[in-house]
Amino acid sequence: MEQSQTPSRILLVDDEKAIIDNLASFLERAGFAIAVALDGEAALDQVARLTPDLLVLDVLMPKMNGREVVRRLRQQDNWTPIILLTRVGQSTERAMALEEGADDYLNKPFDPYELVARIRAVLRRRAEAPRQMPLAMATRVRAGDIVLDRTARRVEQVGKPVELTARAVALLEYLLLHAQEVLTRERLLDAVWGWDYPVATRAVDARVAELRRALGDDPDAPRLIETVVGQGYRFVATVEIA
């Protein structure tokens, strides 16, 4: 798909030269045009000068860290899609992630092919609603009769609170923010649990079952969470800012 149009321009920001060098040529080979920056200040300059289509941003960097870069951009109403290289497993990180509004997160060390998959997914999602505040920045999101309050970590259905475990809420949040995308169990594990042990995929199934039970979603005729056989799960309802 990328070949027929002009390639998407990615700004890669990391203070580690070895990562920049290897990832830049890998991403170029995957069909993207790459610019690089070695610290946060340089990243902001580059964003202003080059208006890239997407940023891949490390968190711990000299001069200005990745989180500050996201904050500054969002404060200027700059909604350039951002993939932040960190994990959002714990509640404090989750709260920060909400405040920042990055589009996706990837934990180092990652599989470079996974990075390409996420870049494509984020670009596709954003292409459908360009220049709008992304869902990732919304405090409350709605899908049909379900409302998720991301700050309070509460879920309501037809105005009534739904009782869920903290991890089920986190899983629902990730599904909602990545609606219409097929998410493998491995990816959900990495994003929501921050783990990858062999049988852990069962943990994902157990939480999906919990969500379906609590939200009254029939796996055979899903309104919300669809099982994609051999691949994973997909949130099928339309999600909007509430």
């Binding site: 990832l23 890998f26 968190v59 989180r67 060390p109 092919y113 649990w193 042990y197 049988v199 852990a200």
Partner: protein, 308 residues
Amino acid sequence: MRRGQWLRRWRLGVSLIPLSLGVAAALLWQAGLFPNPVLTLRLRADVGTLLLVLGTMLTLLGLPAAVVAVTAARRRDRDLEAAHSACTDDRRCFLQRLDHELKNPLTALRAGLANLASLPGGRERDAVHTSIEAQVLRVNRLVSDLRKLVELEQRPAERVPVDIGELLAEATQLAHDVPGREATLNLPQAPWPLPPVLGDRDLLALACYNLLENACKFTRPGDAIEVRAFEDGQSVVIEVADTGPGIPTEDLPHVFDELYRGENARTIEGSGLGLALVRAVARHHNGAVSIRSRTGHGTAVTMRLPLA
């Protein structure tokens, strides 16, 4: 961190100096104690009041600057805290730093290997590539296990009713995938079935899985693996026993330590963190693990989880 806080206070303090000098001067003037008679002669206005006004103005100018600086510093600290979470003890700090130092080179290595794979090459080069990749993934697994261990001690565990029998059944199923291993599961029905344990399902599943994985790894084809669980009034007790080669007595006290490898375990692949994770999960649930073993006979690992 501590130095940062001190600096911040110091900055606030400095911005208050002009005000305090002004107040002091005003008081001295009022009391007629101002030490400089020349000033007294030259100035008609109330010098003390003048100084007070001057001091107040400087403070008003200085305070916002200090507040802005403090806010920025707080935000910076919060980011750092998130990056390093609470480093409350040396061991955890060490593990966290190790994870941090390894993840960048590993990220670069994996991207480099992916580049290499797309370059033209012969069968020999492919073989080298495959071998290096396997080793990189092995280090990758070690890093991810270390991270699990650190996070596990920090994350607040969920407390929902968990059916241990179901978790053991899932884990036992795994043993059947290992050639030559037959694991039997024995769950009580009398006097009543196993009661649920209040805890974190994902963590408990991880512990059960690790126990079974260990039993499979340290046994030979044909050895028996028995999984059982019962309730003794205070706890749910889980036991995974095998007829494997056993663990030498001198190794036994250390098998739950991170990265410890006994004499017999050196040749067996693994991160050396399996039992350390089990112990961390047990402690997280206010439980405990213990091990009994006899060389030439077998091993039994017992995990106790308190009843609600």
